[in-house]
Subunit: 489 residues, 2 copies
């Protein structure tokens, strides 16, 4: 007899009844080949004694096995594994301990280039991140209060049902007002699709615009996740230089004369990772080129809300009268990264196509969360949050830039960014950022090694250092660790 006492271990605290647990274990024993067709099962009395459960429970388990077609009973002789089951050679279980590293037999796409896993910042206490907001500033409790209060009302329960893939209409109305007032982007609710952060806007635009063999123009330095998303469609990237006024549109024009370009991706405020702002002249010229050469402009403006010294330029979308701009923004970046809310603004037809694909991806967003954000916009809470954050982040930018100038000036070179949540810092070529990152980690500080910013045509010895998520004392702690690590390299 098999060592049933070891093989059959039940969990008395589980909500699953004991006989079902026993039944499931027998199914495992059969399918893994430990029990073979026609093998006899122990009598209910013996098994009950062995594993310390009631005999009736074992009987119920056997009845369940029989009703599910795994076993059969022969009068007076006992219960047997169904004789007509296919014989299976004994295999290791798919159990997370033995064989989970075995590869399946089928094939799938595995080559995605250099896509790096998300930085998991949730377990880290001290980090110089990539330029993320300080989640401690966001009025999350107000949002949660609205979320909960909406869910309590019957009308709120309705928000829990399936709805449009375009997103909450109330939030689209609120965004319509916000976009008009904050950046002169006058648009209709039919032009707004609520997404999961700006990343989903980039993904949807890429899926609609690009096919294998197509070309998309991006900056020589660029947001790596956007590059990855475009490449995933099978398109290739055409790298255009970026200088202190943004993407070099004259260079782009020369390329357009020779090559078909389906789309241009820009981050006009503030270019990732180097934080430069695209000049107004280049914005106008890019719009004219889009009209002439019939390409789409993907304008990723996740950073619009944080501009410190003067008013930000209006987005290209606000002055685009030919509907060539697909405008992508984010609330996640201004509120909290894990609350995934963003938006895409484009022509009604394009937005319709995008919402069709969006249905295939995840059907729709979290309507209740979208509705709660709509309340925060309508109450003026979002405005208050933006104003407060802007003030805090401006101060932090100034303090942080002063600190790195004072502490690290022999090792680094940087310009104070006009906006955004990070400062682009070039390190002395003799400094290994990988070594710095590793050494800082040992001292309790997360700081990147710069590899995220590198691509086949851009290999700076630089880092985007996020100041927004750090209080002054945290900056001091963090930079002390950086200094210490640098001196130990």
């Amino acid at each position: 007899m098999l060592p049933y006492k070891t093989l059959i271990q039940v969990d008395r605290d589980s909500s699953v009844s004991l006989h079902i647990q026993v039944c499931n274990i027998f199914i495992s024993l059969i399918t893994e080949g430990t029990l073979q067709p026609s093998d006899i099962l122990p009598s209910s009395r013996i098994l009950a004694d062995l594993i310390g459960i009631a005999r009736n429970t074992v009987k119920l388990a056997y009845e369940e096995l029989i009703s599910q077609g795994w076993a059969e009973s022969a009068e007076r002789r006992g219960t047997f594994v169904l004789s007509k089951l296919p014989v299976r050679s004994k295999v290791a279980l798919f159990d997370g301990s033995k064989s989970r590293h075995d590869a399946p037999a089928f094939h799938w796409k595995k080559d995605f280039g250099k896509i790096l896993p998300n930085e998991n910042l949730q377990q880290i206490t001290l980090a110089i991140d990539d330029g993320f907001p300080d989640v401690r500033l966001a009025p999350v409790d107000l949002l949660m209060r609205e979320y909960r209060s909406l869910s309590r009302r019957y009308q709120g329960k309705n928000f829990l049902k399936y709805s449009s893939a375009m997103g909450s209409e109330n939030l689209r109305i609120a965004l319509q007002g916000y976009l008009a007032h904050s950046r002169g982007l006058i648009t209709g609710t039919e032009n707004i699709l609520i997404t999961k952060g700006s990343q989903m806007g980039i993904f949807l635009a890429a899926q609609l615009l690009l096919e294998p063999g197509d070309q998309i123009a991006v900056g020589v330095s660029n947001y790596g996740s956007a590059d990855d998303t475009f490449r995933f469609t099978g398109a290739s990237l055409l790298r255009i230089p970026v200088d202190e006024h943004g993407m070099d549109v004259d260079d782009l024009e020369n390329r357009l004369k020779k090559d078909k370009i389906k789309a241009v991706y820009i981050i006009p405020h503030h270019h990732f990772p180097t934080t430069v702002t695209m000049s107004m002249e280049r914005r106008m010229k890019l719009l004219n080129l889009a009209k002439e050469y019939q390409f789409a402009i993907i304008e990723d403006d996740y950073d619009f809300d944080f501009h410190y010294d003067n008013k930000p330029f209006v987005p290209l979308a606000s002055i685009d009268h030919n509907h060539n701009v697909i405008y992508i923004g984010s609330i996640s970046k201004t509120f909290a990264p894990a609350l995934r809310i963003g938006f895409m603004v484009a022509s009604e037809d394009f937005v319709k196509s995008a919402s069709t694909i969006r249905q295939l991806i995840d059907k729709q967003g979290d309507t209740l969360l979208e509705e709660a954000f709509a309340v925060l916009f309508n109450d003026g809470e979002m405005d208050r949050h933006f104003r407060k954050s802007l003030k805090v982040y401006k101060h932090r930018r100034n303090v942080f830039c002063d600190m790195i100038k004072a502490n690290l000036k022999d090792s680094i070179d940087f310009k104070i960014p006009e906006g955004g949540l990070g400062v682009w810092v070039n390190f002395d070529k003799r400094i290994s950022l990988a070594a710095l990152s590793a050494s800082a980690a040992k001292n309790g500080l997360y700081i990147g090694d710069g590899s995220y910013y590198q691509n086949e045509s851009f290999s700076p010895n630089g880092l985007r250092m996020g100041f927004a998520s750090l209080r002054e004392n945290e900056m001091e702690q963090a930079l002390a660790i950086v200094s210490k690590s640098l001196s130990g390299l």
Copy 2:
């Protein structure tokens, strides 16, 4: 002079300061061609009088225009639109009223076949839906209490930062236990990816497995959104008959001898839309075929938790020792559709690839919501919810089936489903479901017209009638409208 009194309308309640509003309006006038390069702007005194704001506000607006490079001032002569701006022909504004229906000049994919927009059930009070849960039963308030309480704690604030694309580790641990106890699916947390509903699982599997020209086997009748998702990859569908024991795996075997098939999509419990359960023999045979012919099985088991008469069969994934099954499930379907949580269980390598693509789509899920669900699993609340729902839905299934038998028996034919949230009802061929749907809508009832279930090889005159979301009195109301509508056709 232009009619500035009409053109420049400010909103005194807006959080955007007045001078910025005036500045933005001038930018619009310039970029739409109403104001041309070198045009003179009205003096600050005149404009202030015209639109009723302080003269200093106008001056600030002009300074902003100048600093942004839209205008220039000439001593004593006034402020002018920048002379070196490109001349733009006057165009209609992208303003939601005039030109938003104009198509952009660039091209994008527009042909997605017959993909239907989501049914928006949030505005509807009485509906016979497709088989959705009753959101009134879900312990949403408990979930929201956890959500809010997590967000309040500092540790909760950390959940608002970026994290792994795999999803909350606590929820993966909770699901690991739940899957083991409820369906004998023994797996590791590295094998679990948290998704946005089961739809994202289908999308990710399709993106990884299928390329243009590939074939995927699906049922002759099938879940339309899955068909759409597979076709979106450029793959073609191979339709396999489905009878009362599920997909005909002998037919599949014959096709496999001739054709390369990359994957097979099944909904073993309960097939959509016809609700049949796949027999154990077919499950075993399908697993053997997958091993022999090296294809992936996408097992969509969104409906596992609702099985009424006996215990559901264990999933194929639970007895698959070759890692050929990609198992997809949903919490949205058992809780509330708008709270998008689902999961994919597969080999560690496959899950890694899927989480890489998932980063490109939306970076990650809503960690806080995932954590709140983890608490509900760990507290036993999810189990209580499943048990309570199962009891309520079983009762509703019985009552609903009795009612349609009593009220509609001359017009319909159906079998009582063993599980799931809807019953598949074939209507008399003389009944137009489109007419029924339209007539019911006039009387305040949403009921589908059956087009969602039809495809190129399946054209029943049938409907999936969801009973789970209706209380008895609502069923009575709804079916009275159906009867009345039928008699009026």
